[in-house]
Amino acid sequence: MKAKSVLAATVAAMTIVGVSACGGGDGTNADGKTEVVVWMNSTTGDGKKFWEDAAAAFEKEHANVDIKVEAIQNEDMDGKLQTALQDPSSAPDVFLARGGQKLRDVVEAGQVMDLTDKISDQVKTQMKTALDTTTIDGKVYGVPQAVLPGGIWYSKDLFKKAGITETPKTWDEFKTAVGKLKDAGITPIALGGKDAWPAAHWYYWFALRECSQSAFDEASSDMKFTNDCWVKAGDDVKDLLDLDGFNDGFLTTSAQQGASSSAGLLANHMAAMELMGGWEPGVVRDLTPDKKDMADLGYFTFPEMEGGEGDPTAMLAGADGMSVGAWAPQEAVDFLNFISEKEWQEKYAEAFVTIPAAKNAQSVVTNDALKQVLKVYDEASSVSLWLDTVFGQNVGNALNEGVVNMMAGKGNAEDIVKGIEAAANKG
């Protein structure tokens, strides 16, 4: 009896100690090596392998460093990062950052290392354009790995089947193409509305074509959508809806998960095109039946709008980059410089089927569609970041949802602006 209660008390006491002992840990591990924790979002395939290979290669050169690569599902990344950043001991040293307001929020909280004087010459010179996305108030807070310009990705076979010989350059040509595809019994456009941003991309692009560059940049910085062109872009979305060219149930279709997602529809020739960013070839590859590159994937830039004030060569793009926590050891920066070298940038491009951020590695791009993207990208009069990235999660999500509402037949362009203002009040 007594022994039992003593035992119970011991167990209870140990539990108390155990609970309070959770957490902790510093920069070094048991072997005395410096530990660098990397959070990236490639959970499968070649992408995951790239990070593991890079870590192993770096460790070989630096025997006293232990790079721990942890794969986090993309949609979980923001939330997990937020929680982890509350305590430097649990936070990763190197983590995915896409620039814009999101990065600014973390920077303003003093949790990202200023890399301006720490990046290598390779990063400074070869990644000059892409570096803009991770530069805030003249200081560099991240190293980009890839540039991801947007545009319309399409299946060459399905276009041929519908009798479309040339990719549409104007909105009228685009409408004709949609009509031809429908006549041929093909779903013209895949859209993953469940994730909101794929729907919103249509609105961004319409605005980019309708607004003059100055009007577009102005709204990007002060969030006031007073110019008429934003309403016009809303009307264009209505016009697009009237074409009735989207896949059935696009509102509850996800963008990238599984064969029934919008990227999956394109990959399996169930839909002819999709408006997406430069990650599309890599995403589509994982969704084809044999998990190989989609052979007939093509690319053309967003069509010109008649009477629009925007430059028809202007582009929207994103960038995937890595930031370093303010508490991270020097080795974390060294690792980023290491994978920015030409060799690893080339491997990155191959693994992710994307355009590397470093100019001297871009020659490795062999994918037809990506070559086309590079061509358009080099000729672009301007490259703007996705609006939701620019605005951050709070206002960006409100903007995206406003577009989704409009596509569901609820509200108009003015309601989008109202939603943005309401969201700005919340945070």
Binding site: A9, V19, G110, K194, G249
Partner: protein, 354 residues
């Protein structure tokens, strides 16, 4: 004599050390649970209340990286049409769950309480959806209910025109109601069956002897005696509805539930708090949800469940008894007064007659 005293002394001493030991054990053994409860339930509530006063992005500390705005967050929440809609959907789901599941569950339980072949199998089958995780159910139904999914394919083969079950704002909430009912009815049925089995068979026998038919028996015996079970189930159902999150989140994703008209208070909180990076605002929403749930739960306990809670019956009986005694007292006093009033008359009458 001396032996007896020492024994008495021992007996008197023992309970005290026993009691002390018991208390000591109780406190030591309950500390881990208490730490868990305070740390993961009580403390977060107060933290949320604290964060709710700030406009804060979730990085660093609210008083350093955020901005104190008093009750501004609460003002925005209560005037936000999206929140009002979410609250409306939540209340709709809470009420409709009771209206749809209650009668159905009782009927099912009546059926499954009869003896027939395959009863065990059907009981299991009806309970299975409740056991399966919400994520699996959400994914399964959302695939089947797609415009080109299994449900519409079956309808097409029957010559019926299918609809967009989950994206159409007019239908979506009813689709959600259907899935919720399908999933949770098994739980209600099991509860009701358990409640029915606790009703003594003699009552039914007596009723039959008195000539009551089947439905009459259910109406006059089963329902009244099942009432405590029904009240308890309704309480759990309401609480479940107030917390509804996973099903909506899985089927409609992070962003389109308000467009489809199926947003709930919890999805609103996650959408505006975590997904929008507004941790101050999100915490304020959590506090509002907490208060709404607390008020509903307390009101239900006070006005509906109070008859079933331990001690309630005795208390009421004691009150009744007291009231009866007081009444009797009053009556006696009144009678005495009347008698007193009558007595002299009688006396005088007696005098008169005599």
């Amino acid at each position: 004599m001396s032996v007896a005293t020492s024994m008495r002394a021992k007996r008197r001493g023992r309970p005290r050390s026993e009691r002390f030991r018991q208390r000591f054990e109780m406190s030591v053994l309950s500390v881990p649970a208490l730490i868990m409860f305070v740390g993961f339930v009580i403390l977060p509530v107060f933290m949320a209340a604290y964060y709710g006063f700030y406009r804060w992005k979730g990085f660093g500390k609210p008083n350093v990286n955020g901005q104190f705005i008093g009750l501004e967050n609460y003002h925005i929440i209560l005037t936000d049409p999206n929140f009002q809609q979410a609250l409306g959907h939540t209340l709709f789901i809470a009420v409709m769950s009771l209206v749809i599941q209650g009668p159905l569950a009782i009927l099912f339980a009546l059926l499954l309480n009869q003896k027939f072949k395959g009863r065990g199998l059907i009981r299991t089958l009806i309970f299975v959806p409740y056991v399966v995780s919400e994520v699996i159910i959400g994914t399964g139904w959302s695939l089947m209910l797609q415009p080109n999914g299994a449900v519409n394919a079956v309808m097409k083969n029957l010559g019926l025109q299918g609809v967009d079950w989950i994206a159409n704002p007019k239908i979506a909430i009813w689709t959600l109601m259907f899935i919720i009912s399908w999933k949770y009815i098994g739980f209600a049925v099991i509860l009701m069956i358990a409640g029915m089995q606790a009703i003594p068979e003699e009552l039914y026998e007596a009723a039959r002897v008195d000539g009551a038919g089947f439905w009459r028996q259910q109406w006059s015996i089963t329902l009244p005696l099942l009432a405590p079970t029904i009240r308890m189930w309704a309480f759990m159902s309401i609480i479940g509805s107030l917390q509804l999150f996973d099903l909506v989140y899985i089927i409609w994703g992070q962003y389109v539930s308000s467009t489809a008209g199926t947003s709930t208070m919890a999805t609103y909180m996650v959408r505006e708090g975590r997904l929008a990076n507004n941790y101050g605002y999100g915490s304020a929403v959590a506090v509002v949800i907490f208060i709404i749930s607390l008020v509903i739960a307390l009101a239900y306990q006070r006005f509906v469940l109070n008859r079933d809670l331990a001690g309630a019956v005795e208390k009421r009986e004691r009150k009744q008894l007291e009231r009866r005694i007081a009444k009797r007292e009053r009556e006696r006093m009144e009678r005495d007064e009347i008698e007193e009033a009558i007595a002299p008359n009688n006396a005088s009458m007696e005098v008169a007659t005599s």
